[in-house]
Point group: C2
Chain length 514, copies 2
């Protein structure tokens, strides 16, 4: 049962395939996780019904605001909502009814079909950090991110065996004008990796660019008929849908491209300080957002999102890896499954400034919770640092290694005759040793997850080799992965067309850094 | 709902109580965890039955060895087992039947009754690292442990709010003769802390000393009628029960003191490389061990133990925080619950040499798994480093802080009217902010778990304060906790009697370092 397939190196480039065969570097990518273990269900039926009922009350009595968006207000009014200025009050049951046309699972295609991911069901798709304006590495410390950094992260993502998705804004290339950087980011994902990617959401026109460039990469017809992007639409919590994000959602929904509709919650600031109260607000917001996507185009693929942190009541800073965030994430997963929608939450979250023990505790808490809460799409699964202000090169490979742990846990328990190992127990007997027995020899290669980063050596060996901590080991691994990186083959005409599109669009408008 | 009670400072010492009242240092201790969330059940009924059936086959057809222990062999023969040399083959169902007299929960008393713990049911009791011959701190690096180190760890344990138990061999005081160090260790637990503790198991006579000293501390009658120690009895896996550990078990069972009966598993070495095979062997071993305890004294309190790691097939080193160890821990919890026994497993395990990110990832993986697998008694919950070779001062306080996360998660979701927070959602409305609202003001103090160690400050503040990593913060916290430490009050006559017992026993035999 090999869940890791060696990457197909090429669809068109025979020369690239031959070059790949000559080198010793194997670029592997695991298939997305298909869970063989149950989710942890922390809320009972009564609790779920209370929260669902309260969310309907919120929609009906308080409502949500659709800001600067007359077309949205008209759609809502026509659907039967009570529209008063920008306030949309949604009669009990209407939003849930509208959500029914959204698919419970969908395939996001990659340009390499072996990298396609099915989002929903019992699956978990892992994608890297999204959004930081800064980067950090052991050599250079913390600094503003550049396009070169961005490209390095895309390369690391392509080389990361347990990462299924290339992500979106792996860092903000701040050296490129704001109104043009989405073009360079898309070009990097499309040409430096063959994993699936996300589109731009910072302007509706940039979402259109994402669709156009995808048509160049996949072909016009293919994009009309298939989902090739999953993009991140944040809700301006509490209960507010701004026109920029809704504009991007409208573009993607019209083109049948997927959107994560995601309340952005810092508990105590954008939502109540209690878990049940936050879950109520999250559900109300997602119901309204998903319903709206289905008003745009019934059947458009969407994901129930929940980005959840809580606030440190001393400093006002967001906190990560906390028990309250975990409880909300577990509960939101149950609510998503009852709605029949794929679920996005969790990530390798931390508030730490360094990829140190704090970063690892908080990230591991979140990663474990993400697996066990039934998340289907996990953004920020590696590389996140300092509350999302920083993309860390070392933490990217540290977290990416831990994603292997999630794969191993999700495999569950093999109860085949070989898994039961009764012959081994008989062969070894009381006081014996399993290392040399036939069963161990036959199984040891695939029996245990193996780190490609962490240190298990005896103390003396470790000390002789320089007594390196995890950051030092990660720093060496980043350098090796970038040195070993090989660009996946791409039709040169397609790459040329993409570059041409980027150049034309950039020339068509003045730079803006706003 | 305050789950943290300020420590009662004194039962007898009015002067100590007054001194305590004058100081600003509050020594808090949380009540043991009572879970309001479910366990994660990874095995279905069919899987559990296969493993239980296989374990009975192992006991009946392969059997277990009781080494150098004619009395045990006689007990087994009289109970109906097939005894052949040291091999004991146990007819299908007999061991499980004998286990029925073991209690499903029991109270371990502390000398301060507020620190009593109930072990079993939905509870989780947290105890510190056990066994390392070395210590490490940021100042001195790695070195052999001394009695002074031991006493410091007991003090840190007493000062740790989320730690319910003082533990046992928090490190090996290697400067004290092997045959005498148990006396100094017991004296430290009994006088420097008022939390419950573990007894010595390295010789039956040392178990007897543990009982005798407990009688001085609690009173003769009290110890005859109550459980005041929970001690660690390792099984020499595979399927071997040596006479030293069984000798200690016999002493404790006869005195109605609790024992953790714990296979010591490095998967691939002492057990099969597969999860189901290891679970089968663990269950067979625990069935035999617990049944034996009940042959000694029906009703003696025991715990179903499982210490689980897997082996790195490259180096032969044990590994920690791995998915395979997690699956075994989850499965063993289910087997323990079906046997109606309290369950011991998990801990802040790591193979790392330093309290770095590797240590934190691996420890967080294990701690989360420990909570969700239904563990009732978690040894090694803080301070473990380097595969159990090292007790780390910094990691002790780092892990101990994370134990607060487990408390918060176990609380589950409050669905009271206040928890539902509908008034807050109404008050704030779309686009508002929760920080100032009445509900937030009324709840913020207890709403979120709060670290006493980790850094949430803005980057600039953190940098001005020295850009400290988690180890530096922990090092400062260790120093502060030891400076703030105040010895819990104890009847001076009792302390004198304990010291006298230690002095007499030490004088009665020559030093031995073997």
């Amino acid at each position: 049962m090999s869940e890791v397939a060696e990457g197909r190196r090429s669809r068109s480039g025979g020369g690239a395939a031959r070059r790949a065969a000559r080198t010793a570097v194997r670029i592997e990518c695991a298939r997305y996780i298909e869970r063989n273990i149950p989710n942890l269900e922390i809320l009972n039926e009564e609790a779920l019904e209370i929260i669902e009922n309260n969310a309907e009350t919120v929609l009906q009595e308080i409502g949500v605001n659709f800001v600067d968006n007359p077309a949205a207000l008209k759609l809502w009014k026509d659907a039967g909502a009570d529209v008063d200025g920008e306030r949309v009050r949604i009669p009990r049951g209407l939003a849930r009814e509208l959500c029914k046309t959204a698919p419970s699972t969908f395939v996001q295609h990659a340009r390499n079909p072996e990298r396609n991911v099915t989002i929903g069901g019992r699956n978990l798709v892992l994608a890297p950090v999204y959004g930081p304006p800064f980067v950090r590495d052991a050599q250079g410390g913390r600094r503003y991110a550049t396009l070169e950094d961005f490209q390095k992260f895309v390369k690391l993502g392509f080389m990361s065996k347990w990462l299924h998705h290339s992500g979106g804004t792996v860092c903000e290339p701040t050296d490129i004008p704001v109104n043009k950087r989405h073009l360079d980011m898309l070009l990097a994902h499309m040409t430096l990796s063959d994993k699936p990617y996300m589109g731009s959401v910072t302007e509706p026109s940039r979402a259109e660019d994402s669709v156009e460039m995808s048509k160049i990469l996949f072909g016009q017809d293919f994009v009309e008929q298939n989902t090739v992007m999953t993009s991140l639409i944040n809700i301006n919590s509490p209960l507010t849908f701004d026109s920029v994000m809704m504009g991007a959602l409208e573009v993607y929904a019209r083109h049948n491209q997927a959107a994560i509709i995601s309340p952005f919650i810092v508990g105590g600031a954008m939502a109540p300080v209690t878990v049940a109260g936050t879950l109520t607000q999250v559900l109300a917001e997602v119901l309204a957002g998903v319903a709206y996507s289905q008003l745009i185009r019934p059947g458009a693929p969407v994901i129930f999102g929940a980005f959840v942190t809580s606030i440190d009541m001393n400093s006002g800073a967001p906190t990560f890896g906390t028990p309250e965030a975990s409880l909300i994430t577990y509960g939101a997963g149950q609510l998503a499954r009852r709605l029949g929608l794929p679920y996005r939450s969790a990530g390798a979250f931390t508030g730490s400034k360094l990829p140190d023990a704090q970063a690892a505790y908080e990230s591991a808490n979140s990663l474990n919770m993400g697996l066990l809460s039934g998340v289907n799409f996990m953004l920020h699964a590696c590389g996140w640092l300092e509350g999302g202000l920083v993309s860390s090169f070392e933490k990217f490979v540290m977290d990416a290694d831990q994603l292997g742990v999630l794969h191993g846990l999700a495999r569950g328990v093999d109860l085949s005759e070989n898994g039961q190992a009764m012959d081994a127990i008989r062969e070894v007997g009381p006081g014996g040793h399993y290392l040399g027995c036939a069963h161990t020899q036959a199984n040891f290669r695939d029996a245990f997850w193996r780190t490609e980063l962490l240190d298990y050596k005896p103390f003396e060996t470790w000390e002789e080799e320089g007594a390196r901590d995890t950051v030092a080991l990660a720093s060496a691994r980043v350098a090796k992965m970038l040195a070993d990186y090989q660009k996946p083959a791409i039709d040169p005409a397609v790459e040329e067309a993409l570059k041409d599109y980027v150049a034309r669009k950039k020339a068509s408008m003045p730079d803006s850094f706003m």
